[in-house]
Symmetry: C2
């Protein structure tokens, strides 16, 4: 099995805490995991929070992989020109921004060149990264940008999915004001999204014939055009195209019906038109954590579903359960991925 790479995100945030605490309680979960970061970021935090942890730094991925030492393995990919400044717990600094971006970019490129199976990302502080020229709304768009082929023409080449033990949701639009959602929908976007979800459920989840549901944008899925026409004009025409390609998917159905207790288990994924339509049910139903997954990339990518929680850094209240779920999901997907 190829290694899975893990990035810490913002070094002043709870990313390092989560890794150290999760490793202490569940060291076996870090088999096959290589952290792409200067080891000092973890070593310093471990000391600060009083958890003795073996943390080793390697200068190449292959030496990290081949080493039989115990402890957390860090591959520090930073070239000497990228400064590794000291980190103050809970206090972000622009001086670490370039190193953070560099770690994520190198990790993604390593996945792209097939030396690693996938990437698990810790939480970044976007405002800090922007100060170092980071121009993306978030991780996902940055990874899609790195992965994109020059001749790409699709309306979208990635899809945000959240998955829990009992439910998977995928999003047509993500962080958009509600007033902008109707304009953002198009037949092409819907088709691209359906194709990516269908493909990745087969390719990365081992589901031979995925069963998809598509939620309408409007209440009652518009009730034959009485409350909005996006179902008639955009969503259902996209469904028609998808079906012609052999994809099993519902017409645009009312979202409250799709997610009801008696219906949702019929589907391997439910595709939603906007953020809350997907996030409300998965957070309401999932008592544990849900994992953020990016579909459509040429590699596996999972993510914690929390932010940097600067006010919690160093505290015993830091929960690593989302990180554990992200690691487990990435491992499961790596095992299921068709070669």
């Amino acid at each position: 099995m190829k290694p899975l790479l893990l990035t810490l995100g913002e070094p002043a945030g709870i990313g390092p805490d989560c890794v150290i605490r999760a490793y202490k309680d569940h060291p076996e979960s870090f088999d096959h995991i290589i952290i792409v970061a200067p080891a000092i970021w973890l070593q310093q935090r471990a000391k600060q929070i009083g958890l003795q942890t073996e943390i080793r730094e390697f200068v190449t991925l292959s030496t990290a992989e081949q080493s039989s030492t115990t402890g957390l393995k860090c591959w520090n990919p930073l070239t000497p020109d990228v400064k590794v400044s000291p980190v103050t717990m809970g206090k972000t600094s622009q001086t670490t921004a370039a190193a953070v971006i560099n770690c994520i970019q190198t990790a993604a490129e390593t996945c792209l060149s097939n030396q690693a199976a996938g990437l698990i990302t810790g939480p970044i502080e976007k405002a800090v990264l922007r100060s170092a020229g980071f121009k993306f709304p978030g991780h996902t768009e940055f990874l899609a940008h790195i992965s994109r082929k020059p001749d790409a023409t699709a309306a979208t080449d990635f899809v945000m999915m959240l998955a829990s033990a009992s439910l998977r949701v995928a999003l047509l639009t993500t962080h958009l004001a509600i007033k902008d959602v109707p304009h953002a929908l198009s037949i092409q976007l819907t088709i691209d999204c359906i194709r990516i979800v269908h493909h990745d459920l087969k390719q990365r989840f081992g589901i031979k014939q995925p069963r998809l549901a598509l939620c309408g944008l409007n209440p009652h899925a518009g009730e034959q055009g009485h409350f909005g026409r996006e179902e008639i004009d955009i969503l259902n025409p996209a469904v028609e195209v998808a079906r012609q390609e052999g994809i099993e998917i519902t017409d645009a159905i009312p979202a409250d019906t799709a997610f009801s207790a008696s219906n949702r288990h019929h589907f391997d994924a439910i595709i939603c038109c906007y953020h809350d339509q997907a996030l409300i049910p998965i957070k309401a139903i999932s008592f544990g954590e849900s994992v953020n997954i990016t579909l459509g990339l040429p590699f596996i990518r999972t993510s914690v579903d929390h932010g940097t929680a600067l006010d919690l850094v160093g505290s015993e209240d830091v929960s690593y359960s989302s990180l554990m779920e992200a690691i487990h999901m990435a491992k499961l997907m790596a095992q299921k991925t068709l070669s």
Copy 2:
């Protein structure tokens, strides 16, 4: 205890089936319930589905109330000029529309004049009623119209609530295309809705100091205006006014946070900006049925949450569980109502 009135809705739909089947299995639930309809609508259906049922017709509400006979009690309020045409199972007809409207109107007026505690409504077929001059989007608006005082000036005087055993949701807007939702929100509408929910939770649910949550319209409740400004410009200013009146309510918070398993139990009701924001979580979480309740009326009103299901009429597949929940909720509210 004053009686609760029950209307059958569309006589060709499953309304009569639900009443007959529910009564057969749970006759005690129909104590204090007077059905406002010609008895023939139920007698005929009982015969057709082969369930022998005692069904008696009374010409006034008080004789129905005072009668100590067993069986279902119908008060037929129709004057001789309103024709009671024969009903064909599963086949709607314009010939019964006037009688259906008349039963609902009389039942509402009886509640208004304080002769009954509240109203439980079965499913109507709106298109049929429109043919008889019914100009309302549904029951709720019709009941609000009948109840409205001539000098009413509020942005709204009723609120749709859905309640299950563990969750209550209230809606700022109901059956509206998503593209029209942002324009429909206003500070006044939000204040009126908050006031009605607060008042009725005290008045009709016996909750002394209701704890309310308000969901943002946009993902992450707009994230300080990054994804929409309705939280800043409309919702939070309304919250400020409500708090000055002593109402306990959150700022506009992300809907997925409000409904998460760890948060929702902190609130007696969660107020939502639009249909799916409220209906998705309540249908996802409630394994039984949720009850549709109209707040803000001068009387209790609950409703089944299903339609006329014309294709199921007469079949053993008709489920009466939503009717039972609507009856139980109305009884509970009648007991809790402050006099």
